[in-house]
């Protein structure tokens, strides 16, 4: 009888252990927490405020990833170390957003001057999938499915929370559409630090001119900058949006020569601080910044 009680007690403890999820994506961390609730413990490997382009997992991170049941990653070349990680963390199941989103080519406008200068291999596809709410809805359902596969007992809970999240994302998508509709079509041009808003541009009819990526170093070639300035002027861009500006001199030169003003800072490489600490908040903050600058 004692053995039976011990089995029930320790069995119960084992059942109460939440699913361990390691996340390489701040956006997927937020989604997994909303869907998983108490049944899931999400360990942030890449945190908000850390530049994901420069991030490399430490030995401590590798231990956390190896002991996780699931690993969340963006894919499409965003984590240049992902293939190496998969060969090391053989016990974990990888949930890669790139497997379910409809990818677009990086530099959606064929901006041939764009070269990668920020330390990771974007590859031919744009890995910044979360700037499309539709993509995020797909990834949310994908995460819910993978959580259910890893923890079948929690399947109903995961499905229920995923459905609620999907409804909130649907509402967020509507809000984004209505806000962007306030910007005249002729002004829908995003001059950004780097080419990270391709999905947002696709969904809402923006053109994109990325500032960063004009050369292979922090000092872009003068011809490249001149070409970009000419494009900004000919297309009538009124604002330039910043993020983590690596070369403010270039930006100053462009704003001075084009007359375009600083449109404000966008959170483009994942989640940020304050309102942008959640996916919903990040999207609303970015859309508000864009609408205020361009309308």
């Amino acid at each position: 009888m004692k053995w039976l009680w011990a089995w029930v007690f320790f069995g119960g403890l084992a059942m109460a252990q939440p699913l361990k999820v390691a996340s390489l994506s701040t956006v997927m961390t937020d989604l997994a927490r909303q869907i998983g609730g108490d049944r899931v413990e999400v360990v942030e490997i890449v945190r908000a405020g850390v530049d994901p382009h420069l991030f490399q997992p430490s030995p401590g991170d590798l231990r956390k990833i190896s002991s996780a049941d699931l690993v969340l990653a963006n894919g499409m070349g965003f984590e240049s170390y992902l293939n190496d990680l998969k060969s090391v963390a053989t016990g974990a199941r990888f949930v890669v957003a790139g497997d379910v989103v409809e990818p677009i080519q990086a530099c959606s406008e064929g901006h041939s001057d764009h070269l990668d200068t920020h330390g990771h291999d974007h590859g031919p596809l744009d890995p910044h999938w979360w700037h499309s709410v539709k993509n995020t809805q797909r990834v949310s359902l994908f995460i819910a499915r993978k959580l259910s596969e890893a923890d079948p007992a929690g399947g109903t809970e995961f499905d229920s929370r995923a459905a609620s999240l999907d409804a909130r994302l649907e509402e967020l998508g509507r809000w984004c559409r209505r806000e962007v509709a306030r910007i005249p079509r002729s002004r829908r041009l995003l001059v950004t630090s780097h080419d990270a808003l391709g999905y947002l541009a696709r969904d809402h009819g923006f053109g994109i001119l990325p500032v960063q990526g004009l050369s292979t170093s922090d000092q872009p070639s003068s011809q490249g900058v001149r070409a970009l300035i000419a494009q900004i002027r000919s297309r009538g861009a009124t604002a330039i949006f910043t993020e983590s500006v690596e070369n403010p001199k270039v930006l100053e030169q462009i704003t001075a020569e084009t007359g375009a003003r600083n449109g404000g800072a966008l959170v483009v490489d994942g989640l940020g601080d304050g309102e942008a600490a959640t996916y919903d908040g990040m999207m609303r903050q970015n859309i508000r910044t864009i609408v205020e600058a361009l309308r």
Binding site: R174, R178, A181, T238, G259, A260
Partner: protein, 139 residues
Amino acid sequence: MRGSPLIRLVVVCFGLAALAWPVAALTTRRIQPFPAGQPNTPEPVTADFVVRVTASTPALFSVGIAGEDSPRQGTGHTFLTSFRMNASAPEDLQVGADFPDSKAESAVRVEVLREGRRLVDSSFWGNGSIQDAVSIPTP
């Protein structure tokens, strides 16, 4: 070099001027003031876009576009209005429908016609209030 020193001086001056001209052109280029929001494009061709909004129950409709200060409004089952816009890049429509007398789920149908041809036929559902935006496909 043979010849008059004066001619030599003139030749050298011409040579220096020929070299200096492209340098000066590059370094002393004047910054042109930028006309904000006015790209150098010809006047766009415009067209009338007729918008018809139909609701399942009586509603307070609003339809607005970028550039107009306030949305156009109407009440009833159907609301009809038209916008004159750039034919090749028409603005998105901000569509709203409030149902003050209905708490059940209601539906709104938005149609956009140009010269009798239907360009958009979208439906939305919601409780109490429906707010969305409609993009008009470009040719």
